[in-house]
Symmetry: C2
Subunit: 499 residues, 2 copies
């Protein structure tokens, strides 16, 4: 790339000159879109009706091209690609159970999760794909434009080319709204990361079968539907720029940000809008937050080491699953997939199946009229960097039944017993259906009274939405559950005209 010499004055890019602000505008006016949600549902139903895939559990011996490796007992693919299931030995972790062993997915490849954005009638629309994944209990869910492992897009298995991949593999000539490597589930994956990328184009885009343009507002509104927007879509959505800290033009002309929002209009939407704008301030300064988070990382002294799957203690293999002796946590199992609609006709693969339904929740509170979110600095053994920011509550409640009551996660009771009028979001959403079988989490946002003085435990802090949005542009800050909930939080801006 070259730039013109200094005589030509306009080679530099300044923030705030682009169409930033149109994404939150779309959330605030969900009905402004090229097609209605009614049209979308009709399309989705018709797509689901033509989808012919069948998924069935199989014993490990029916896996084709997968085997338990002799020396380690690891579950590996004959090609050496895709992924493997290995063992993980954890020592000196913080919390009530410092040491354990478990199966873990090792997948060193960085996959691509990309959403293509294009304006129609001045409204940003996202190109979404109706995609069957074997782990989805309802078959088809809504995925990003591109959701591909490196093995997919380098076509190790000889499948068809990945549609729209070039927008993300070579984004020059387009506008990149987000591009960041993000962690996956640190309890189930060893150091797995995906590239989360959002590219805006002004080109004509051919609409292929199985794809649909939804406005940013419509897409967020659909988060309220159980098991529709898949995990990969949610994590990319969380990286969409809903705020830009460099943007002075978000501020009102008189310099007092409060004048934008009359004090007597104090809904969750207005307090969230304030929270997305740095001019409204935050309970904790950036320096104080960096000090807290860096301290949590620097003090971590545990270790997590890959070991042979055959050697881990407390886990037993039967003909069709590897389970913990307690009957808790998750199983490693296998499926056979028959389909006419995927790049290749059918396949078998191992998967992870959680034993219970998860709960992932944000407590939120209006502090001085600005919505704050309580996040936790949490260790998960599969993280590349030991500690990331997690939701207020992230657990599978059943897993704590065998432990003493004081081992239960902070705020779990508060979330489970929250009164209906305090619940701002409550939807059951699926984990990624390419690796996780019928594994789902209830996503909840609970608002506590502005009058309440809540003592932050050492590993918890109140952050604003703009602080979370700033961090999610960088790797290794927000874990996948926090990102999924951040997209749900943003959906609280959604408004239809009748409201």
């Amino acid at each position: 790339m070259t730039h013109a010499p200094t005589g030509s004055a306009n080679v530099l890019t300044r923030h705030g000159t682009g169409p930033v602000g149109k994404i939150p505008d779309s959330l605030r006016d969900v009905e402004h879109a090229v097609t209605s949600l009614r049209d979308f549902y009709a399309w989705l139903t018709s797509y689901r009706d033509t989808e012919q895939s069948k998924v069935r559990r199989i014993p490990f011996t029916e896996l084709k091209a997968w085997r338990f490796e002799g020396s380690t007992g690891n579950l590996v693919h004959d090609s050496g690609r895709f992924f493997s299931v290995q063992g993980l030995r954890v020592r000196d972790a913080p919390g009530s159970v410092p040491s354990w062993e478990q199966p873990v997915i090792s997948q060193p490849e960085v996959g691509v999760l990309g959403i293509l954005v294009k304006e129609f009638n001045g409204i940003p629309h996202c190109l979404m794909q109706a995609k069957m994944e074997p782990g989805n209990h309802n078959g088809v869910q809504l995925s990003p434009t591109v959701q591909a492992t490196r093995s997919n897009y380098t076509r190790v298995h000889g499948g068809r080319p990945v549609p729209y991949l070039d927008y993300f593999r070579n984004a020059s000539g387009h506008r990149v709204l987000a591009d960041v490597l993000q962690s996956e589930q640190g309890s189930w994956f060893h150091r797995k990361r995906n590239r989360n990328i959002v590219v805006e184009t002004t080109e004509d885009v051919e609409l292929l079968d199985g794809f649909y343009w939804l406005s940013a507002g419509q897409l967020h509104a659909l988060l309220a539907v159980d098991d529709l927007v898949n995990m990969d879509a949610r994590t990319v959505m969380s990286c969409l720029p809903l705020t830009d800290p460099a943007l002075p033009n978000l501020r009102p002309p008189d310099g007092d940000p409060r004048s934008l929002y009359p004090v007597d209009v104090d809904t969750i939407r207005t307090s969230l809008t304030r929270s997305l704008d740095p001019a409204h301030g935050a309970l904790h300064s950036p320096g104080s937050l960096r000090n807290w988070f860096t301290g949590a990382r620097a003090d971590f002294e545990g270790e997590a080491t890959l070991v042979g799957l055959g050697s881990i203690r407390g886990w037993h293999r039967t003909e069709d699953r590897i389970s913990h002796e307690s009957g808790l946590f998750f199983d490693v199992m296998a499926v056979d997939v028959e389909t006419g609609s995927r790049e290749i006709g059918g396949w078998t693969q191992p998967m992870i199946e959680a034993r219970g339904q998860g709960v992932t929740a944000f407590l939120v509170q209006r502090i001085d009229g600005v919505l704050h979110v309580l996040v936790r600095a949490k260790h998960e053994p599969g993280f590349m960097d030991a500690v990331e920011l997690a939701p207020t509550v992230q657990c599978t409640p059943e897993n704590y039944t065998v432990l003493p009551a004081e081992a239960a996660p902070p705020f779990l009771d508060e979330v489970l017993s929250a009164p209906a009028e305090a619940i701002r979001f409550d939807t059951v959403l699926s984990e990624e259906g390419g690796r996780f079988f019928h594994t789902r989490s209830r996503h909840v946002i609970v608002e506590i009274s502005p009058e309440r003085e809540l003592q932050e435990p050492d590993d918890f802090r109140w952050l604003t939405a703009h602080q979370l949005s700033g961090l999610v542009q960088h790797s290794n800050y927000l874990n996948i559950q926090a990102r999924s909930l951040l997209a749900c939080l943003h959906s609280l801006l959604c408004q239809t005209r009748g409201e």
Copy 2:
């Protein structure tokens, strides 16, 4: 921590209300400080005169409590703490030499590098320590307030407590200006990181023997002195906030940032000042830079694996060193240290001794009057995340004498042959003297003509100073050489009143 309920209106912190801007002010007026540089030099000379340490090379057999471990050949400490020298096997790295093996320092502990800041007469001052390190060819250099491994401050070796440590281990009640885990040399360390932290206090601070308050401007001005400000001080200095992208009040009232700086005043200082202010814009948008950098990381497919030091190919151990068969790169060697001034009286340890003097250089250019810095996305095998941003040139020129000419790093010739009038900074500075013996790099900043159209190679990009300052607040972006040069770049703001 609790916050007051919403009735009390002022619990939120807003950016731009603190004393930001005083650090660049200090650089622009170096003479405004509590003592003069002449006083500082007198103090330093007197300190050096009383410093009694003796360092001598020893054969490995004279190491006390260090040994070559039988099974691996690794050089380890009997306690299992401190650090070890192991082998590293690198495969499929980008560049002209994709595979090699080498010794590497493994030190899983996160150390603390902290600078304490306090205002005197309204000017921020940094508490610096005159510190002997065995690798320093000149004995004493200027180090941060605290420079301590975890083994130091948990007192594994039974030494004295680390002075001022509490400001950094528990910063509550003080103002945290920076706090971030930063990488160390990725060619010599395996995934080593240190906590870089700057804390401002308003308390009275007792001045202990061996410590000195220098204004931020004085400290930066001293970067121009060969081998004075040590590597640990330079990396912490690079994290000092010289710009705050959230600060609208840095902008002029009429909204045109150019009005702050008349066009006819176009020195390196004014172009650097513009470069520190996001309002002046940048050649590449944040999205475009994220796309470039994330792409470099996502495409990386190499691997670096720890192996036994005794098993690496191409390296030979004699009684007093481990060297590469080519005579290039570096040696592992050992020293005996006698001192009366350190926490313990004397010790022996292994060290790394580079064979040649390094060159680390930024090419800079004024683009539309805004200074830009050419950085490189570079793989080093010891990085936690494969690729970081490095200087335009970072190499030891002698290492390329055995390779074909086309293997020489881009822009190396340009830096080595730069005319005197293009050189804005040129100082020889030392690597960290606790691990590296007489190992030094020439730090150079070369300005190229604004008229020149320089084609950016794929792995290079022009960044502004505010873009670099934004990235250095997060882990794993700028490598240690880029951070060291960033501090040198900031020192170009330094001005004495006579100028």
